[in-house]
Amino acid sequence: MYAQPMNNSLNPLDSEAIRNDFSILKGESDLPLIYLDSAATSQTPDCVIEAMDAYYRTYNSNIHRGIYRISEEATAKHEEARQRIGRFINARRPSQIIFTRNTTESINLVAYSWGSANLREGDEILVTVMEHHSNLLPWQLLSQRTGAKLRFIEITDEGVLQLDGLDELLTERTKIVAMTHVSNVLGTVNPVQELIAAAHDVGAKVLIDGAQSVPHFNVDVQGLDCDFLAFSGHKMCGPTGIGILYGKSDLLEEMPPFLGGGSMIRSVQRESSTYADVPAKFEAGTPAIAEAIGLAAAVDYLNKVGLEAIFVHEQELLEYAHQKLNEIEDITIYGPKPRQKTGAITFNLEGIHPHDLAGVLDTVGVAVRAGHHCAQPLMQKYGVIATVRASFYLYNKLEEIDTLHDGLLKAQRMLTRRRR
């Protein structure tokens, strides 16, 4: 499903009120923080920090173990977090929500556990050229372990998936399709619903990398019918150190454990053991308790603001950013136009290294990302080593894009004077 403005009658988002929810954006320093790097990690609202603070100050204890008041409270809050996060993506049961450290670990869990049990030589894994390295390396490693072949869906010059030759790529040899919902570099929203249906037609499973979609618009795992969904807390107003793997129950139940240790067992003998039920089977060791509680608070916060309002607000920012940056001479903007994408605008200025652009922007208080964005195959496709990416979230304002624009002109004045 391509990104579409959903409900135009919606109340516009009050970004000033929202900024008040984030201590870091109220900083008193001389330079304001113009934070345009939410695709890397989002800012954390005070309510999330307070929820984690309350755990440490009033009921800090290990879970599933202590038969005493605060441990029971911690266990209850941790499991309630699982429920609220499950509801956020419309999972059928809380046991389909596995706590991990981040998207990367969620994908590795599937590649090791499901992948090693189900793939062999002659099988194929289908990914796209626009994957973040964290949705590529686990499959490369799996391919090296099993002899299964890794194949790629290419992209067009506009930065959308090239689906013409799909029949040739997606066949009964394909055992899993692993693809990003939204490109972290281009912002492209991929038509995952159609691709999931096509993959299921040939008997393949589908893992969706939701790191850049779950924070920005409503992702419904039952509606999409994906087999796995991976995402990170720190890109959706939550803390670092917590990520989610959603999986269909029958798959999770069949899969062998990933990490071994405490909490994931039913009974242990010297030479072998039996394992706990899902999700505990995949959650060895003491988990990130405060972070799970923090992520649930983030989900409540996003629900309160409303994902649709956030999406519409980001579309407005994107349209304005495209319009303003297109006024700059010698700029190349990569990827599709607004309305086929969300969250980010990626570009280069002729003759200026992306690091220098980011460095000069920093002098006017603007934080952007410069580099390969952990997507080197995509950079190679565009024949560049690095780009600059500005990415937006609910707390950004139109005026901040003016500062970005002026900062880019300043960089041009400074760095393209008399160069060879």
């Binding site: 220098d356 460095g359 000069v360 410069a370 080593i385 690095a386 400074m414 760095l415 004077r417 160069r419």
Partner: protein, 132 residues
Amino acid sequence: MNIYEEDILDHYENPSNYGTLEDPDISYEEDNPLCGDQIRMDLQVEDGIITKLRFCGHGCTISLAAASMLTEEVKGKHLDEVKQLNKDDMLDMLGIPLGPVRLKCGLLALKVLKAGAYGLKCWPGEEDEETE
């Protein structure tokens, strides 16, 4: 202090010793995997003295200015002296403070020079960490 000092910009815009040598005694090239910046150094050496050198490559102002400054510094010097150059010497030449990310840009040229001349492959300043 601003890292885009006039001096840095001058070296970036009009680098010294830019190019390649026809017949170098030592030629070495490396990139910074974090950002893709790439520097090559060609040296001509007589009795241990660097008589001629050129650098080329692509990168940000900091990495190119550092390379330009470094070539000025080591031209005519003995390789033994070059071996003594460390992270702080390079930062002194640049004359600006660098955060941990840009530090690698500032040190790439020195790393390439030392790797080419002595096969020292670690980042300047990280030698001790490696021998622990």
